[in-house]
Amino acid sequence: MIGALIARDMRRGGSTGAVWLPIAFFALIVALMPFAVGPDARLLARIGPGTLWIAALTAALLPVERLIEPDRADGVLDQLVIRGMAEESIALAKIVAHWLTFAPLLMIAAVPGSVLLAMDGGSLARTELALLVGTPGLAALAVAIAAVTSGLPRAGSIAGLLLLPLAVPLLIFGAANALLLEAAVSLLLTAGAPFVAGAAIRAART
């Protein structure tokens, strides 16, 4: 059932075009940076990795409203629970599906992004590695926040206020390329998020 749910979520994201929105947003933020700070290549290269991370974090906010709420409102979560699936397993499936549709596209979009920011190959490779390590934590955090805010009015804005502060450790260690610390934070978020999201899904049931 977990595999079927992952496949279904990935198909839905792809076929409705929803997965492209955060990627377009990511590319747009990266493209704005040279306009904001000017065409100085040395300055751009220096702030490049941090810019990619800020863009990744803001892009991670966009899908939050479609991760849990539509399935809660439409009774899909209820039907899964009736079939004996634990809320934590549902959350885990959603994290895996979200990461698979979010992270690879983001990492591909980071390549043209690095060109706009005049980053060299080594700097890009290090940032890609940090994104690979950090994005599971970011995806897990997005699903947990989506579950906590599902059913609330203006959930999107509240989700932003919750997600961005909690993602600060990922941002700090990711942009500083402290890979072990980034991995530790990412692991903690990925391991904890299914339980937070599972409890939130149970609590939101009426």
């Binding site: 439409d74 009736i82 049931r205």
Partner: protein
Amino acid sequence: MTGLLRFEQVALRRGGHLLFEWLDLALGPGEAVQVMGPNGSGKSSLIRLAAGLLRADQGRVERSALALADDKLALDRELPLSRALGFWGGAVAEAMEALGLAHLAEVPVRLLSSGQGKRATLARVAASGAPLWLLDEPLNALDSDGAARLATLIAGHRQSGGGVLAASHQPLPGEWRRLDLGA
């Protein structure tokens, strides 16, 4: 447990308001119980309690494998109906035939009318193969043909040893034991 569903001295509170207490209910193979009562008497809550989606404040609820049809579609809108139902598995083709949905197999779920949507949620229950069916207001939005098909399905399910718990404020076709929550 020999039956399909058993409530023992169950109490349920929603939003600080006591819906019912000391409720006993046993549902065995071949039996059908209709929960009746005015709006807000707790019919849907009782169904969700039976489904395990709510927890009883007091008492015990035991249940066998079950399927639930309520007012939520739980089908992917962009998919054709047969594929959307297929996600939930079971004997989908037969169930669609039984509810008169076979000609809609290739129609996207988002284009279905509310009556057709209701039939689709009943088809998911029929396809599930679960011994216990929980139906929340199964007649809502159904036309007379749909209601007749539902009655046939329920009769067949009971004959093969299944049980049905349905909540409805209007009389359901067939023989039902009644549980009245209104008071």
